[in-house]
């Protein structure tokens, strides 16, 4: 078990290196820093000096991977690759275009992101699984059919609609909660309720349908027939037998996103003006702040890989066949 986890951890290293190389290639090789500078400065202000100044300000004036001018180890370290990509492994993301330290910024924004993403995730999981169990309990009846149709309809609605519609209805028509903004402490609750509800609502359709499929597949298994042949009521069959087994495929799909909850939700955060990582990312994209985007890509992959690892572990815990072998 421990060896297994260590092996998975070791396996993560080449993947992170791969991500790093990929982003490096995307950001510095496909386009040279000169191109970026030209674009950022705008057509009118492009002069060689301006470009040079822009690059120096951001530390993009070094050679890409090999600094022939430097001496000793500096041939490797005094390069864009080293200063911009390798140092990410140490958690050093450099500065954003507005001069702020990206690592610091990320640290302070994770809290709000999590405050909204975590409740959404937990509540969404709970609601969708209960809903799916309900449909499965009444499978092959009109209720089931109507439920599935409702799910399909709900997942056909754009996520943007849920947000815009929800904001309009709850905040503008009913004046129940503030439309956007964020506060610390207990105050946060009144800002969070709406985005969480909307987040849960928007995800119900597809996840309920997915869980329902899993449950239905599980319910045709032989052991379910055995359980019924014992005389167990359908409710017990569903909760004790089907749900436990279905948790295994559900876990594989769900656990992987848990670490990524830190990343926040791009749309929700930007619509509701929550100062989390999601809105940070969107702002960076809109402002074309390459340093921030690059950092978020890196953090995102680290979290995803952590999610994979967590999946493996939870899977092992949930399934005795894996745990005990």
């Amino acid at each position: 078990m421990l060896a297994y986890i260590i092996r998975r951890l070791l396996y993560a290293i080449p993947i992170l290196i791969g991500v790093n190389l990929l982003t490096f290639a995307l950001f510095f090789v496909v386009n040279t820093p000169d191109d970026m500078a030209r674009m950022q400065l705008g057509v009118k202000r492009v002069t060689p000096e301006a470009i040079q100044k822009w690059k120096v300000e951001r530390g993009y004036d070094k050679p890409l991977v090999w600094n022939a001018a430097a001496a000793g180890s500096a041939t490797l370290t005094d390069t864009i690759f080293f200063s911009k990509s390798v140092r990410m492994f140490a958690g050093d993301f450099g500065r954003a275009d507005d001069g702020r330290d990206i690592s610091r910024e990320i640290g302070s924004r994770m809290g709000p992101s999590l405050a909204i993403a975590l409740p959404t995730f937990v509540l969404g999981l709970f609601v969708a699984i209960s809903f799916a169990l309900l449909l499965v309990f009444f499978r092959a009846t009109t209720l089931d059919f109507a439920g599935v149709v409702l799910c399909v309809a709900m997942m056909s609605i754009s996520g943007l609609f849920y947000i815009i519609g929800g904001q309009w209805l709850v905040s503008k028509v009913w004046h129940l909660v503030p439309i956007s903004g964020y506060g610390g402490g207990l105050d946060a609750a009144k800002f969070l309720i709406l985005p969480v509800i909307i987040g849960v609502f928007g995800g119900i359709g597809s996840s309920t349908r997915w869980y329902r499929t899993i449950f239905l597949e599980e319910i045709t298994r032989d052991y379910v027939r055995t359980a019924r042949a014992k005389g167990l009521p359908e409710r017990v069959v569903l909760f004790r037998h089907v749900l436990r087994n279905a948790m295994i495929p559900i876990l594989t799909g769900v656990v992987v996103v848990i670490p990524s909850l830190f990343m926040g939700s791009l749309l929700t955060e930007s619509f509701f003006g929550i100062p989390g990582l999601g809105s940070y990312t969107i702002d960076a994209i809109n402002a074309q702040d390459f340093a921030v985007v690059r950092s978020m890509v890196f953090i995102g992959s680290v979290l995803y890989i952590a999610g994979l690892l967590l999946t493996d572990i939870s899977y092992t815990l949930a399934d005795p066949r894996v745990r005990l072998q």
């Binding site: 990929l22 030209r38 674009m39 754009s158 809109n286």
Partner: protein, 466 residues
């Protein structure tokens, strides 16, 4: 010649796609199992009415993909010149809608602008009359509502007539009694044991579409059915134009990704060893980057390229088209991993099946086995992935365009429509119509696609027969 045909890259790909779908369906006709599965889809009323709606959307999309440049009025002596503006067949059909732009916002079916303006030679601020919307009423504004009712009923009648025409044509072809068939339709289509149970659904859907079409045409002759946007463009026109973008993103992306996913998935699963390790590494790495961020990064970089090479594109339409294609490419590159993983798993199972071993016992080569034995048995998964992905991609376009990494801002799409409309929500009173129109069209398209995809999956996936 008064026009110069323009072939955008996306048009080419779209037509190639259509041709290959045609080719594939010819091939599938000869495959018993596939034909049986499609026959199941064809007998599913929900699927077929969804398919009818989809067909209507595709028709609009295809019309919008025949591009041309109109000839400019000939200058004596000068050689013929063509407008820099690239139009499509749809633009020509909708010329009225396109050209009758107002000054700014107006509500659906309105006769006046949405905001008061200072009129000429008057100190008062008033709602000015629209240039086109309701212009035929003249001073007789009291007749506004009556006129609308008349137009709606006229549209209904026309739609009904058209539908009856089509129905009788179909009955003639299928050798059926029109009246009897209609009666049967009204009685819920139960009795028609011999016929396809889905035929009725198709006709009912068709009736709905034709009625809407009739009403839209009849109303659109005198009003802006969905109002106008900030610069006075007809929202109905914008919505119709958005369809092509949605279709393109939904289909071309899959087209880009499929060959890669199929090739790598099968290779990884069948060959195994270091090839498998390498391919798995590749897709784990790619999928470990959060999708939106990877797309954002790639789109930003692509934007830099496009901006730094303005000389590559003759018209702005071409530039927008390039960006659209690049978006498909990027979406494709980031989304092949899921399908590849699925195919790899399935190949691993197939590889152990006895018919593959029988082929190995004959010394059939690896690639021949993959082509003859593995690939055909994966086609249903590929197909399911294709139809299931479509709706997700249409929705994703809206989100990406909202984030600012979607299509070119000058491309009309659901995403750009929503993005601009969102700003208008803050106005008091609210300008809601372009938002609602965009969402409604998108919902219809995605819902139809989802329902159709469900039916396809049920018909092709042996496991989901429940």
């Amino acid at each position: 010649m008064s026009i110069q045909p323009v072939l955008l890259w996306s048009d080419v790909l779209l037509f190639v796609l259509m041709a290959s779908i045609g080719g594939l369906s010819l091939w599938a006709r000869r495959q018993d199992a596939l034909r049986a599965a499609w026959a199941r889809v064809a007998r599913n009323p929900v699927a077929m009415s969804a398919a009818t709606v989809l067909a209507a959307f595709v028709l609009i999309g295809l019309l919008d993909s025949v591009h041309y440049r109109a000839r400019l009025p000939a200058q004596p002596g000068a050689e013929t010149r063509y407008s820099v503006e690239v139009n499509s067949a749809l633009d020509a059909v909708l010329a009225d809608l396109r050209q009758r732009a107002e000054k700014t916002y107006s509500a659906p079916l309105a006769t006046h602008l949405f905001a008061k303006e200072a009129l000429e030679n008057s100190a008062q601020r008033e709602f000015p009359r629209l240039k086109f919307g309701g212009a035929h009423l003249g001073a007789d504004l009291a007749a506004h509502e009556f006129d609308i009712a008349v137009r709606v009923s006229r549209g209904c009648a026309a739609g009904m007539l058209l539908w009856l025409l089509m129905a009788s044509l179909w009955c003639r072809l299928a050798d059926l009694e029109l009246i009897a068939t209609l009666k049967q339709l009204r009685e819920g289509n139960q009795g028609s044991g011999a016929g396809n149970p889905a035929t009725g659904a198709v006709f009912v859907t068709l009736l709905g579409i034709l009625l809407l079409l009739g009403i839209a045409i009849s109303l659109g002759g005198g009003y802006h059915v969905f109002g106008t946007d900030k610069v006075g463009q007809d929202v109905l026109y914008l919505s119709l134009k958005s369809i092509r973008t949605g279709l393109l993103i939904g289909t071309l992306t899959t087209l880009v990704m499929l060959p890669l996913a199929v090739l790598l998935g099968i290779l990884a699963g069948y060959v195994g060893g270091w090839v498998d390790d390498l391919i798995q590494y590749l897709y784990t790495t790619l999928s470990s980057i959060p999708g939106v961020l990877l797309i954002a990064a790639a789109v930003l970089m692509m934007q830099v390229i496009i901006d730094t090479h303005p000389d590559w594109f003759a018209t702005s339409a071409e530039r927008a088209d390039a960006r659209l294609l690049a978006l498909c490419l990027i979406l494709g590159m980031t989304s092949w991993t899921g399908v590849a993983r699925l195919l790899r798993g399935e190949t691993l199972k197939l590889r152990e099946l006895e018919f593959v071993q029988a082929a190995q016992a004959f010394g059939v080569g690896r690639f021949a086995i993959m082509r003859r034995h593995i690939l055909p048995n994966l086609m249903h998964i590929v197909l399911i992935a294709l139809v299931m992905d479509f709706s997700g991609l249409v929705l994703a376009e809206a989100v990406l365009s909202y984030v600012g990494v979607g299509v070119d801002p000058s491309t009309i799409s659901f995403g750009t429509m929503i993005n601009t409309a969102r700003m208008e929500l803050a106005r008091e009173p609210m300008v809601w119509w372009s938002l609602v129109a965009a969402f409604a069209f998108m919902f219809a398209l995605v819902l139809a696609a989802n329902l159709f995809a469900d039916a396809v999956r049920d018909a092709f996936d042996p496991r989901s027969s429940a």
